[in-house]
């Protein structure tokens, strides 16, 4: 006990039973928990607990999200694979031949060649090869395309029309007719085809549009 703490209060004469109390020292006063600190600590704990709760809710929620996204990924992957599988079958030579035949296409004959340097034509064109499948029909089995409907003439026409429309829309900007055009011909509009990407030299033919 320090000297200051031991200092007695001035005595009062008329007090028969005085209640004496040891005054707390400054250090003791300081050591006493303060309300603010207690409140702060409690709030801190509550906040931490709440944060933890929030985090675990978020993590659990994340787990469900991951799980559902994984399921979605799996299902989409499966769909993708199933579609790829269908596409692979539709790309098979059997299906192409059957569809071509159904559209009335025939095999081409042999082709003549033009030597661009000399203009000389080599080889002879022969008559068309006739039916692609022949009278026996498709003889190379493929059960993956069994019962699959061939490309229909109407569908082919629609696709062609759609393509043409697109092309016309694209050609409008260039003011050049789609197809083959001669660059360098004095009669033809010169370099007005800003949209055209044909960069042939004068006198040469632009690449023809083939389908």
């Amino acid at each position: 006990m320090t000297a200051a703490a031991a200092t007695a209060r001035p005595a009062r004469p008329a007090a028969p039973a005085r209640h004496l109390e040891i005054a707390p020292s400054r250090a003791q006063r300081r050591a006493r928990p303060r309300l603010a600190v207690a409140l702060g600590t409690m709030t801190g704990i509550v906040v931490i607990l709440l944060a933890q709760l929030g985090l675990s809710i978020a993590v659990a929620d994340g787990a469900y999200r991951i799980s559902s996204l994984q399921l979605q990924e799996r299902d989409l992957g499966r769909q993708g694979e199933a579609l790829a599988e269908q596409l692979e079958s539709l790309q098979s030579p059997q299906f192409l031949a059957r569809s071509a035949e159904a559209l009335g296409m025939v095999a081409s004959g042999s082709l003549p060649y033009i030597d661009l340097a000399t203009g000389e034509i080599t080889g002879k064109s022969t008559r068309s090869g006739g039916s692609i499948l022949g009278r026996d029909g498709g003889l190379v089995a493929n059960i993956t395309i069994e019962g699959v409907q061939t490309v229909q003439p109407q569908a082919a026409q629609d696709a062609q029309a759609a393509e043409q429309q697109q092309e016309e829309a694209a050609a409008e900007g260039s003011r050049l007719a789609p197809g083959l055009h001669v660059v360098g011909d004095p009669g033809a509009p010169q370099s007005e085809g800003a949209g055209s990407d044909v960069s042939s030299g004068p006198g040469t033919l632009a690449s023809p549009v083939t389908r």
Binding site: E81, A82, P93, Q94, L139, V140, A141, T144
Partner: protein
């Protein structure tokens, strides 16, 4: 008044009881936490732990341009828990998006309608499983259905129906190259490229272990043990699937027209020995290989040797010219039969009866005279001739190394009888596969340099690395002069010989040799024939070998019957590969004098 003693007693009793209960709890606690801790924890973990197989994807087989010939696909097994099927009661089911209670028989009928089965058969599956084991918890309703069917069944939401993933194999191009590609059995590859490139194609399954809640969602923060699945590599073949299809279609037409037993055709690129098409007829659709007899499921072109006949003659002549023993201009008097060195009673004749012919050596080859070939071939010793034929690739499997590939047969020198000694020079008494013939013609077209036959371009691993066989320099079999002159003589067969009236290639020079081989059955040559035409296009600088073989035709038993197929394939090859027309016409080589 309160009796203080009574109060104390009650207090004591309460304390004793509290401690007794505490003691029971403590014992139980020790029992659970210490004595049975391991067992219980393991049980709990087992209950939470999900162990899932992660399937690796078996690699695909594609043609040169990436057209898929074999691919891994997902199929689903639909299973049920028979013990949980409420027979004679109702089942919850979703119909048009709404939950309804329907009689169980209706639920079974709904599944059957989607899987295309008979409802009675489905019911039988369930009742049979229950008959075997009244507690049966598992039965396959249908196996390997497509995603489409699986999703529709799943949408029914029937509680006792489950499903399993069933990785499967699909061959989207069907029978195109089906005999080469091969197929898988239940799980294992059975034949073809599937089997012999299995090392590249095979995938390893992985597994994931994680802890999950009751709804199957992984518990956050639980340990996940993962063994990654590794996918198989992609095998790229040298095959061009469109050409392959064309050749198979054609073989089907021609084989059927001639009433043949089987047919094969090869298109091989001369420069590097790559196989552009290798067709077998009858062909097999690997999706449905049980539909054809066992003999037709493999690749006859690689595994079935036969006596090739006269299409062997160009190799004999190229050897003789290379050795300097024969000049194509040499003038010969070819008699009506050949008996020299043969045992009494044996004689070698030509396909048609003739008196003494004044042929040049070129004439002997172009007219396919067995007598003339026999006269000339004995100028080389049997050992020298055997060496030449071996260098052309006979008596050994081709470099393709197709599984079960047959090496063909040339007799050993000490087993060589006087007749076979001569006849094997025109393809009788020896055997070869179509692949060997095609490979040998490659050497003739390649100016005498034999390059190993190649069917597999490489194996592309999932990480992008490509394992490709080393391109071979090739080995010289005969001199360029010997090879080129032989091709020139073969051109005469097309331009003015046996094939001239049967085939026409406007603008192109084509070299070819025909073969009509007798087929030995039960040790005797009978009336059956194996007919073939082998050729090179364009003849002025060969780019492609075309070999067509048709076995045991009923209607026409001469090589002329193969001409239409040969012509069509050569034309298709010209169109497919845009072969330039020949600048000049075929030069004339004197055949007679």
């Amino acid at each position: 008044m309160i009796d203080p003693r009574g109060t104390r007693r009650r207090l004591a009793l309460t304390v004793v009881m509290v401690f007794a209960i505490l003691a029971v709890f403590a014992v139980r606690l020790v029992d659970i936490q210490v004595v049975r801790a391991g067992e219980l924890a393991a049980g709990a973990a087992e209950h939470r732990t999900r162990d899932v197989v992660v399937y690796g994807t078996r690699g695909s087989i594609v043609d040169h341009d990436g057209v898929v010939l074999a691919d891994s696909v997902q199929r689903f097994d639909i299973t049920a828990s028979p013990v949980n099927v409420p027979f004679g009661a109702t089942t919850d089911m979703r119909r048009d998006g709404e939950w309804v209670q329907v009689p169980t028989s209706d639920a079974i009928a709904a599944i059957a309608a989607l899987t295309g089965q008979d409802p009675a058969a489905l019911t039988a599956v369930l009742t049979d499983a229950l008959a075997e084991d009244p507690e049966a918890n598992f039965a396959y309703l249908v196996r390997k259905v497509t995603l489409d069917v699986f999703e529709q069944v799943r949408a029914l939401g029937i509680p006792w129906v489950y499903s399993e993933l069933h990785p499967a194999r699909s061959y989207p191009s069907g029978a195109v190259a089906g005999n080469l590609v091969g197929f898988l059995g239940t799980d294992e590859p059975l034949t073809g490229v599937e089997l012999y490139m299995d090392e590249c194609l095979a995938a390893t399954n992985g597994r994931t272990v994680y802890e999950a809640g009751a709804d199957g969602v992984a518990l956050p923060g639980t340990a996940i043990a993962e063994t990654e699945a590794s996918d198989g590599g992609t095998v790229r073949l040298t095959i061009r699937s469109d050409l392959q299809w064309y050749v198979q279609q054609l073989l089907g037409q021609e084989g059927g027209r001639l009433g043949a037993d089987w047919a094969t055709a090869f298109v091989v690129r001369v420069a590097d020995g790559h196989v552009m098409a290798a067709a077998d007829w009858p062909s097999v659709d690997p999706n449905d290989f049980l539909a054809v007899p066992g003999d037709d499921r493999g690749a006859r072109s690689f595994v079935s040797p036969y006596e090739p006949g006269s299409i062997m003659k160009p190799f004999t002549f190229a050897s003789l010219v290379d050795a300097g023993e024969v000049d194509y201009g040499e003038q010969l008097r070819v008699p009506s039969e050949y008996t020299e060195g043969l045992p009494p009673g044996y004689r070698i004749t030509d396909a048609w009866i003739h008196g003494e012919m004044r042929w040049t050596a070129a004439g002997v080859l172009a007219e396919s005279s067995n007598i003339g070939t026999s006269m000339l071939s004995t100028r080389l010793s049997a050992a020298e001739r055997r060496d030449y034929l071996t260098a052309f690739g006979f008596d050994q499997p081709t470099a393709v190394g197709f599984l079960g590939e047959d090496p063909g047969q040339l007799r050993e020198l000490d087993e060589l009888d006087p007749v076979t000694n001569v006849t094997q020079q025109f393809g009788q008494g020896m055997t070869a596969t179509s692949a060997q013939i095609a490979s040998a013609y490659q050497a003739l077209g390649n100016h005498g340099v034999h390059v190993p036959l190649t069917l597999v371009e490489g194996c592309e691993l999932p990480d992008g690395t490509v394992v490709a066989p080393e391109p071979s320099e090739g080995t010289r079999v005969v001199s360029q002069r010997a090879a080129d002159e032989t091709v020139r003589v073969m051109e005469q067969v097309v331009s003015r010989g046996a094939l001239s009236s049967l085939v026409d290639f406007p603008g192109y020079r084509v070299a070819a040799k025909t073969g009509t081989a007798e087929v030995a059955e039960n040790g005797q040559y009978g009336s059956q024939r194996i007919i073939s035409v082998a050729g090179l296009v364009p003849a002025d600088d060969p780019e492609y070998v075309v070999v067509v073989t048709i076995a045991k035709p009923d209607s026409m038993r001469v090589s002329a019957a193969v001409a239409p197929a040969f012509e069509a394939i050569v034309e298709q090859v010209i169109k497919t590969f845009r072969i330039e027309p020949s600048a000049q016409n075929s030069p004339k080589v004197p055949l007679t004098w």
